[in-house]
């Protein structure tokens, strides 16, 4: 666990830079995290992030790509367009959530 200075405040992150404290996150931080991986957030990105955050709060774990499609209603192809190459990893990174498990 490390502390990173971002957005003018202290953010808890893991070795790979994923935010580890749910409450450290806010929409401004999302913009910053997105910039780190070369993304610029649109309204549609934010809708996806919203779903991830809310689902995490209810389920206690980061939803898989399949769940974001099945339950959140975002087509997989669109997720690949919004978060190119590695949507599962990128979405959770920008949403300030742990990497989804299940990839084992």
């Amino acid at each position: 666990m490390t502390i990173a200075q971002m957005d003018g405040r202290e953010i808890h992150v893991d070795q790979e830079g994923f935010v580890t404290e749910y409450d450290d996150w806010d929409p401004d931080l999302a913009d910053l995290l997105a910039t780190n991986i070369g993304l610029e957030l649109t309204r549609r990105h934010r809708e996806v992030l919203e779903f991830l955050r809310q689902d995490y709060r209810q389920q206690g774990e980061t939803p898989t790509l399949r769940r974001v499609t099945a339950v959140g209603g975002f087509p997989t192809r669109e997720l690949f367009r919004l978060f190119p190459k590695k949507p599962a990893k990128k979405m959770s990174y920008v949403a300030g959530l742990p990497k989804p498990v299940g990839c084992v």
Binding site: R66, A70, T76, L79, G102, V104
Partner: protein, 414 residues
Amino acid sequence: MNERRLVILGGGTAGTMVANRLHRELRDWTVVVVDRDDEHHYQPGYLFVPFGTYEPQDLVRSRRKFLDDAVEVVYAEVDRVDPEASMVHLQGGRELGYDQLIIATGTHPDPGETPGMLGSGWNDTVFDLYTLDGARRLADALESWTGGRLVVQVCEMPIKCPVAALEFAFLADAHLRRTGRRSATELVYVTPLDGAFTKPIASRELGTKLAERDIELEADFMVDVIDEDRRVIVSYDEREVPYDLLVTVPVNRGAAFVGRSGLGDELDHVRVDPATMQSTAAGNIFAIGDAANLPTSKAGSVAHFAVDVFVDNFLDHVAGRRMDREFDGHANCFIETGDGKAMMIDFNYHTQPLSGAYPLPGVGPFRLLEESRINHAGKLAFRWLYWHMLLPGRPLPLASEMSMRGKVPEEVNA
């Protein structure tokens, strides 16, 4: 009668182990196992069928024979569980009430889940490695193979035995070399993961093994459709991988009744507490083996370690005591690398596969994350252990909790 009834759905690896172990402990209970048929397959053997090492009849036994006589067996397809009424509905209308229920119906390949997979090329140029039938047909296709692009592909995680496809690629490389067809073959390994395996050190080691064998790695590839007329697989981000022969691991799904009963996740794997394997929806329902959505590998070895912990907990649970053992996700897999050698990995929820020796520090005899002949011998010996030790529920001299003894920590390794 105050006799209590334990119903176990699924009489495969996990269901058989747990039935045999529990009926010995729960003397005044009725133990019932439900399965759709009497064919118990040794699934790890499928991997060797395409190369003629095993014939199908080497891998199939009667389920009944491996269940203690006192265990009742019902042959039927499970249709639905009603957790509120503690009732199992079987197809054909029969009902089976329970005091405690264990779901051990595993996970299975679902080729219909990927558009195009069941098209014109199915069982002709596209083969499923995860069924005995698919493996057998693949044996014929390999026999007449003269060269071209042989693509080995995993659709989506999680799958059971996450290394089997990789092993197939290694074995195919060795097999084609031995039979003089390797230079005419382009071998490609396609995975939705960002490397050869999920965890970094093993991914690096296995990635090196692929490169050494001139097997191309196509990572981060989530298949959208298979176009069997053009013979290409297409990813969601519109990359295309052409093939002449495609060996695929379809999306793996739990039994459909799990979803219908409101007990599962998006892939019909039962939602459970990862430490106790108790359903998050009902206190008298548990899931073991591949059927559960545990964040560890789906493998027979994992089921074995999990059952050790589970049995102790379950006995506490039915006696009204707290369950105080916690499963750590211990997984232990041999990985065939061809030419009579194999690697081994040992890990759990928290510790990724490391190098070293197993089970005895410094001694082994198995080497972790290294190729050796003894590892391969271990893999082949596993078939005997499976039928004669694992299924009957005899103790193996291996600890259910993963141990750091004998492992080389990451820092030292780096």
